[in-house]
Symmetry: C2
Subunit: 355 residues, 2 copies
């Protein structure tokens, strides 16, 4: 393919493309704008001219005119937990389908994402998605003042103007409590995530409340802070007093449930589920691996990401400023890390508990 | 904190900040440019004025003047393989330390990244990093014409002007062959990744060449395409003919080595390493989990990411257009998935093979 007019440093402009295609400059602009209206044959002429000239529309320059960068800032950390890479891949694909690109910021899961966010705002992103992290109420106010909608994923907040998408943490916590009780367990433990995480708190509260409401003893409590090594140590501490050993451990997520399983089997030589049952939350890929075969309450990635994208598009449209909190339902997926209980059934290739 | 001059839709300009701080507009600009020179007390006055006015410098607008967007496009897929999320997190942090941000593109590992790249070029990125994917020679030429340096991570290419950072695939393949032979193995197999991946090809060629050069039988070959389910099926096919069963399997990466381990143990009831030894490549986090305890040739993330960032900064400076290929050395990390062989030693808390 010959490119007569594309030397390395003097790029073709929309004006050049318009001239060669015999159309207006605004038609060229619409042809390269996601969702822009151009007649099919006009579009074909424009694309052919752009190819011939080596034209690349400058999205950044356009953002100064449209006041839309088509960039969504995503702050995410804790990629060690499979849930987040899975979510990131799905989010990136879905946003791209809507003409958006992802500007990614790594953040520490335990901290506010403020320093990274302050930088991302300089890129005039259209919206912000925060996963595995949170932001201070001050920065939430800054985003609001700047007209940048914020959507939390897998966290929630009462901060004004901030939307969120979470799994059904309360229903999950209650269902796990009821399932373990139905399996005959009486000595419960909860392995908490980060203490400042709404997700871990909501799961624990529902689990504990159900046990109390049903006259069962409250769970022992250990804190793994969502960290593999910290969770292994917390599990050792939990199991070393034989007389008080739990017979069922509910972990704040699958990633740390795997750490708990490893210590139970490989350090204490105990059997799962005969000696201790283990339940996680998320249903990540590794939960299905035969070595773990983890019973877990699912957080279905695709509906959660659909929720994030729907919130973003509606916040950028007529729902600007309206804070909404979406809760995506899950299922208790039953595998080998728990004793059987009545009420299990096969649904779409998985065993789920629907008593 | 009161903000007298920050209404939601009329943002403060650099001019406003300069006026309040009593400095020139170019001092404001330098204060918000990574590496820009400003006296400390001047910077403090500017930051205070910017805080007071709610000023956000527009990085996109600046990119039109400086011809630098400070954005690096990163095309990555296959995030299911822990190596990539680990690399992405490290890359994002290191680039941010150099004043760059990451525009992320999800791509399918088996395909060229061309459609995503064509979009990313519209954002006038300063450079492109491609991981777990590759690009056509046509698009490589387009990037060259546009003056956008390309760095491949964990892949290499002979395309002109494209740089790469890989682990030491050849040394790794040879070392694994020598280690398995030293452990007394004689019936080898190689579980390939994607057939078009330079990484899988380079590992296999070195493994096979070493065996041939040392008078040992060539390995059987199975193809897992870097996919967990496909690798499980390829392992079943490999193991079902008892008479030809391998006693050592080298897998193109750790992610698929785990799939091989799962089938050996949980479907065939065979022991690892007594019946079959398994070796991976990467040394991802899960290789250390006691359930797998995987022997593997390491690809150290931090030096690899340092290499990518060094290449980018030098390509944006005086080394523009010079294609370099960095090969980062690794180690054979010995764990429980292989029989012992003489030559192992403890180094920094790991057992490595240095015969």
């Amino acid at each position: 393919v010959s490119r007569p007019s594309a030397p390395s440093r003097a790029p073709a402009t929309a004006h050049d493309v318009a001239r060669v295609a015999g159309v207006s400059q605004s038609a060229v602009s619409r042809a390269f704008t996601p969702g822009g209206r151009v007649a099919p044959d006009t579009r074909a002429r424009i694309v052919a001219a752009a190819e011939q000239l080596g034209y690349r529309p400058n999205r950044l320059a356009r953002s100064l005119i449209t006041r839309r960068s088509n960039i969504i800032g995503v702050a995410m950390g804790y990629l060690e937990n499979q849930f987040y890479p899975q979510a990131l891949e799905a989010l990136s694909r879905r946003l791209r389908g809507h003409g958006f690109q992802v500007l990614l910021f790594s953040t520490d899961p335990g901290n506010h994402a403020d320093p990274a966010i302050a930088e991302v705002l300089q890129y005039h992103v259209d919206a912000l998605v925060l996963a595995s992290t949170t932001l201070s109420s001050r920065l939430a106010a800054d985003c609001k003042a700047a007209g940048v909608p914020v959507v939390l994923l897998n966290r929630t907040t009462s901060a004004s103007g901030v939307c969120s998408v979470t799994g059904d943490n309360a229903e999950g916590g209650r269902t796990i409590a009821a399932f373990l009780a139905a399996g005959g367990h009486r000595r419960f433990a909860f392995m908490a995530g980060l203490e400042n995480s709404s997700t871990s708190r909501d799961r624990e509260a529902a689990f504990t409340d159900w046990l109390r409401a049903n006259g069962l003893p409250p769970p022992q409590r250990a804190v793994g802070s969502y960290d593999f090594a910290i969770t292994m140590q917390a599990t050792r501490d939990l199991l070393k007093r034989k007389s008080e050993r739990p017979d069922a451990i509910f972990c704040a997520n699958d990633h740390t449930a795997i750490a708990v399983l490893e210590v139970i089997r490989h350090e204490f030589g105990l059997r799962v589920p005969q000696d201790i049952a283990v339940v996680g939350f998320d249903d990540v890929g590794a939960a299905r691996w035969p070595s773990f075969s983890l019973t877990t309450y699912s957080q279905p990635i695709d509906p959660m990401i659909d929720g994030v994208v729907d919130l973003i598009t509606s916040l950028l449209g007529r729902d600007a400023g309206r804070a909404r909190h979406l809760r995506i339902p899950g299922e208790l997926v039953v595998r080998g890390s728990t004793r059987p209980a009545p009420g299990c059934r096969e649904v779409e290739g998985r065993t789920v508990w629907r008593p």
